[in-house]
């Protein structure tokens, strides 16, 4: 690649053109050499020195010629003209460039002494004079056109990745033949696994490299990597493996694990002779959803890169088992089939209480002859209530068991995020004495007062058109099929009298004939929120008829199972049944990086939030709003937003919100993400100048030491363009083959004549 722009120059090169490929060529060479050796050994048995010499010479010549024909050496001459092209200056703006240029030196808080600031100083003269054909690119994971004036030093080093090879290839591809050379200005702290500076020769362009950053022996402790399962189970212990690196080998370091600022675990890690060590720390998620944890090393005053002493990780916490408390006022077929359904599901941890005997029953036996146990009300509704994900009162009246004092506690449990279902019967809702109690306050419908607040007639529940897409009543995905599926179910028998739905509630099924006080069809099944929790009210005690009775007629009991499975999952906030979702393009970002959020939004009644203004807000751990973007959803409720994440490291929540007309907003969906200053980019930010040297050497470019001045004249930016070429292949002709045959024939003739085989 030597040569200045101007006159063409000839270049010669030797190639091998064996048509069968290298392996076949060398195999033939080996064969011919072996045949040559055998022939020579045989020739040495001839009686006279003259005959021996002639036979051996003929065999050598034959074998040599055969070898040359097999590998086909070719002399290629190319006329190459060096043409000057554009110079692409690739400036590394990854976050390792925010580290101090001399990490071992004294920090100067007044001055930007980052590697990027130093690199900008060196690059600036290249653009001072109006130069044609010099382009500036900033790169991290990929190269993007940049303007010098927009790069401000440390603050501009924001890219979370460094991939020099990808950046060079991208620029070479985009510029095509117009590119003459590339100048990479970087610390060489590349993140691409296995890249050592080689592998870019095939581009045919010079890559000059200018090193930045002092390869000092400054102290730096770092969290090199964090490995934790992306998913964990509620109340089940998990482990995070932390890899630590230190520039000071040997000794120990203390690694701390924190969740929302609270210390979760600490462990001591021993460093090996290279300064590496690993340690595992336990954690037990106690809340479902996205949990942000952080691991950290103590920051020494001499630590050159304190930013890499802490890293965060995000765990999605789900339930491995749904903990359900089922309380039944009396054994009935409805309680029996619901309990059997719950018990059959291995993902459900069920605690059941049946009231098997009331005060008026005469068991005709002494207590020790009975298997009955006391109803542990205090244990269930005070001590362990919070350990349940869902509480179901099925045909259960609280009065006889003096539960009134616990109703407020149950109500608060739901408002704090628990699930609650009241399933009908003569002991439920108003008939069970729940009217105007704390339970009534959380129900999605009014529990009508009255000891006889029920109807006994058979009924076929009616779907509500606006909520028929709700997963609890969606027996079939198609609306018409869903209506038909409900019509095939066996009618229910009897219903509790339920009042009008409360604010925020959604009525999913109604009584076919009965009306509420407001004149609308009486709710039979309604769901709604209560604080952070969810509540379901079902005014029927014969849903078992959707199972055994319907199956007796149709052979299919799946509707019963599907209904209750969906109802339980919805109550327990199973993420698979969330009406709306917001997803980020990544889980972790560097400070001020761009986040892309994609949303699929449906409201609580599972109808698309179509053609609506949507706010996308970023909240920090303290709930303080840090960013807001506004977008418009499409007809299917889909939307995309881009926004800059905050500059402070930590865990954040991303909320999709629907503004209310009168002010305020409804949160439709949320997701968690992490902003971290360390991450892989800073896990090992030590300069790697050897990589830059190798890159320059391999591609014919110049390498500039860390403080060397950059001059355009010292940066050749020509690339060779071939004007013509000629190929000479003397052993690929018929003459060569003819000579080989002739040599072989003469040798064969003489050998026969001299008595050899």
């Amino acid at each position: 690649m030597d040569g200045a722009a101007g006159q063409p120059a000839w270049h010669e090169a030797l190639h091998f053109g064996n048509p069968g490929g290298a392996y076949l060529g060398w195999a033939l060479v080996a064969l011919f050499v072996a045949l040559g050796v055998l022939g020579i050994r045989e020739a040495l048995r001839l009686p006279t020195p003259g005959k021996r010499a002639l036979a051996a010479a003929l065999r050598c010549a034959t074998a040599l010629l055969a070898c040359l024909i097999a590998v086909q050496p070719q002399w290629v001459e190319q006329e190459v003209k060096q043409i000057e092209g554009r110079l692409a200056v690739l400036l590394d703006v990854s976050r390792s460039m925010a580290v101090r240029h001399d990490a071992g030196g004294q920090a100067d808080k007044e001055q930007d002494d980052s590697r990027l600031a130093r690199a900008l100083q060196r690059v600036k003269p290249l653009f001072d004079k109006p130069q044609a054909g010099v382009d500036l690119f900033a790169f991290g994971g990929e190269a993007k056109p940049a303007r010098l004036g927009e790069l401000t030093g440390r603050a501009s080093a924001t890219e979370d990745d460094t991939r020099i090879a990808d950046a060079v290839r991208r620029v070479a591809r985009d510029h095509g033949d117009a590119l003459g050379a590339v100048l990479v200005v970087s610390d060489g702290a590349d993140q691409q696994v296995g890249f050592d500076g080689s592998g870019l020769k095939d581009l045919g362009i010079r890559v000059h490299t200018a090193a930045v950053g002092q390869e000092s022996s400054a102290r730096d402790d770092a969290i090199r990597a964090v490995q934790a399962d992306a998913h964990a189970f509620l109340r089940e212990p998990g482990l995070v493996e932390v890899a630590v690196r230190s520039s000071q080998p040997g000794g120990t370091r203390v690694v701390s694990l924190r969740h929302e600022g609270e210390l979760v675990a600490e462990a001591t890690v021993e460093l090996d002779a290279e300064g590496n060590g690993k340690v595992s720390l336990p954690f037990t998620p106690m809340r479902i959803g996205r949990a942000v944890y952080s691991v950290s090393l103590p920051v020494d005053a001499a630590d050159a890169v304190p930013e890499n002493n802490e890293r965060a990780f995000l765990v999605r916490v789900a339930r491995d088992r749904l903990r359900v408390l089922l309380v039944c006022g009396s054994p009935t077929w409805d309680t029996r089939f619901l309990r059997a359904f719950l018990k059959a599901d291995p993902s459900i941890d069920l605690i059941t209480f049946f009231i098997l005997r009331t005060g008026s029953d005469l068991s005709m036996a002494a207590p020790e002859e009975l298997s009955l146990i006391p109803f542990p009300t205090d244990e269930l509704f005070r001590e362990h209530l919070d350990s349940f994900d869902l509480v179901i009162f099925q045909d259960f009246d609280h009065g006889p068991y003096q539960l009134a004092r616990y109703l407020g506690r149950i109500s608060q449990y739901v408002r704090d995020g628990g699930g609650f279902a009241m399933v009908g019967g003569v002991r439920s809702f108003g008939a069970g004495g729940y009217h105007a109690t704390p339970i009534d306050e959380i129900l999605p419908v009014d529990a009508q007062a009255g000891a006889q607040a029920w109807l006994e007639a058979e009924l076929l529940p009616a779907l509500v058109e606006t909520t028929s897409g709700h997963p609890i009543v969606e027996l079939a995905p198609d609306a018409a099929e869903n209506i038909a599926a409900w019509a095939r179910l066996t009618p229910l028998i009897g219903a509790n009298l339920l009042g009008a739905p409360r604010k925020g509630a959604h009525v999913l099924l109604t009584h076919p004939t009965e009306k509420s006080a407001d004149g609308r069809p009486m709710p039979l099944l309604a769901v709604g929120p209560a604080g952070k929790g969810r509540v379901l009210a079902l005014g029927a005690d014969s849903t078992f008829r959707w199972g055994i009775t319907t199956a007796g007629l149709t052979g299919d009991a799946s509707a019963y199972e599907r209904f209750w499975d969906r109802a339980l999952r919805w109550l327990a906030r199973d993420p698979r049944l969330d009406p709306a979702r917001i997803e980020t393009d990544r889980e972790r970002y560097g400070p001020n990086a761009v986040l892309e959020a994609k949303m699929a939004l449906r409201s609580e009644d599972y109808r698309p939030v179509a053609d609506r203004a949507i706010e996308v807000a970023v909240l920090d751990n303290a709930g303080v709003e840090r960013q807001v973007a506004r977008v418009q959803s499409d007809v299917e409720g889909r939307a995309t937003a881009k926004l800059n994440v905050p500059t402070d490291p930590g865990g954040y929540r991303l909320l999709a919100r629907r503004p209310r007309d009168g002010g305020g907003h409804d949160v439709l969906a949320e997701e968690g993400f992490i902003v971290e200053e360390g991450g892989d980019e800073l896990a090992d930010p030590r300069p790697r100048h050897a990589l830059l040297q190798k890159l320059a050497r391999d591609t014919g470019g110049e390498y500039f030491e860390t403080d060397a001045t950059l001059e355009l004249d010292e940066l050749p930016r020509t690339r060779g363009r071939t004007l013509g070429s000629s190929v000479r292949a003397p052993f690929g002709t018929g003459w060569a083959l003819g000579i080989l045959v002739a040599l072989f024939a003469v040798e064969w003739f003489l050998r026969r004549a001299w008595g050899l085989r």
Partner: protein
């Protein structure tokens, strides 16, 4: 004890019972199985069991119980049938066998009571017929002995073994489906021990005899109904310490 029980029962029978269901159709109906050509040997047995269950437990039972044919779609209206017999009967129709099989598969519970068991447990009469039909519906060798540790013996009362009009075998037999005893077969003439008039006069003497045996037979009947409704509820971990203490004679 029986006189006292009868008196209490009589007094309670005079008190109007509070409605505890949305009408009769959703409460527990101990339905008797009707087989064409077969007699009902203990016509009041289901009524007595329903009445005893209602008096002794919180279960609301239908009074009087109804009866149902195995081929009738109404079989699936409720989850329990009581099938008693004292003599051989003709093979069931295919519709009846299918109805029986599907009833059990979809969650139903079948309580079978041999009202004429032989002293040596020989398979004759009703027993031979019922085994034949169970084999048709559920396959050969599905009927097996119920262990003494089964939940049936503690679903309400704590019992040691089965009882009926005759002491009979020390175990019941059962067919399991989905981890539950879906069919339970007694060769103790349970109905014979329950059968009585409204004044408390029992129709059949118990063998070897005694009020205790009859009471135990009633308790087993109640347990069977409670098992049909609560399944293995009494196997839940929360009950274990209480039950173990009581079996050990502690309070």
């Amino acid at each position: 004890m029986s006189a006292l029980a009868a008196l209490v029962a009589l007094l309670l029978a005079l008190v109007p019972l509070e409605a505890a269901a949305f009408g009769d159709r959703t409460i527990v109906d101990i339905r008797m199985v009707e087989i064409a050509g077969a007699s009902l040997p203990r016509p009041t047995a289901a009524l007595r069991l329903a009445w005893e269950t209602r008096q002794r437990t919180s279960v609301e039972t239908r009074l009087p119980p109804t009866s149902v044919k195995l081929s009738d779609p109404k079989l699936f209206e409720s989850g329990l049938v009581y099938w008693a017999g004292d003599s051989a009967f003709a093979p069931l129709s295919e519709a009846e066998v299918t109805g029986l099989r599907r009833f059990v598969e979809f969650g139903g519970f079948v309580m079978i009571d041999d009202a004429a068991p032989t002293r040596d447990d020989a398979s004759t009469g009703f027993d031979a017929s019922i085994r034949r039909e169970l084999a048709r519906a559920f396959g050969e060798n599905e009927l097996r002995k119920m262990p003494a540790t089964h939940t049936v013996y503690r679903s309400f009362y704590l019992l040691e073994r089965p009882y009926g009009r005759i002491a009979g075998s020390e175990s019941l037999e059962m067919i399991e489906r989905g981890g539950r005893a879906a069919v339970i077969y007694s060769r103790h003439d349970l109905g014979g021990a329950w059968d009585r008039d409204n004044l408390g006069n029992y129709y059949h003497a118990v063998e070897p005899g005694g009020d205790s045996q009859r009471e135990m037979a009633v308790r087993l009947g109640v347990n069977l109904v409670l098992y049909a409704l609560c399944l293995d509820y009494k196997d839940d971990q929360v009950h274990s310490p209480f039950i173990m203490r009581r079996r050990a004679g502690q309070p």
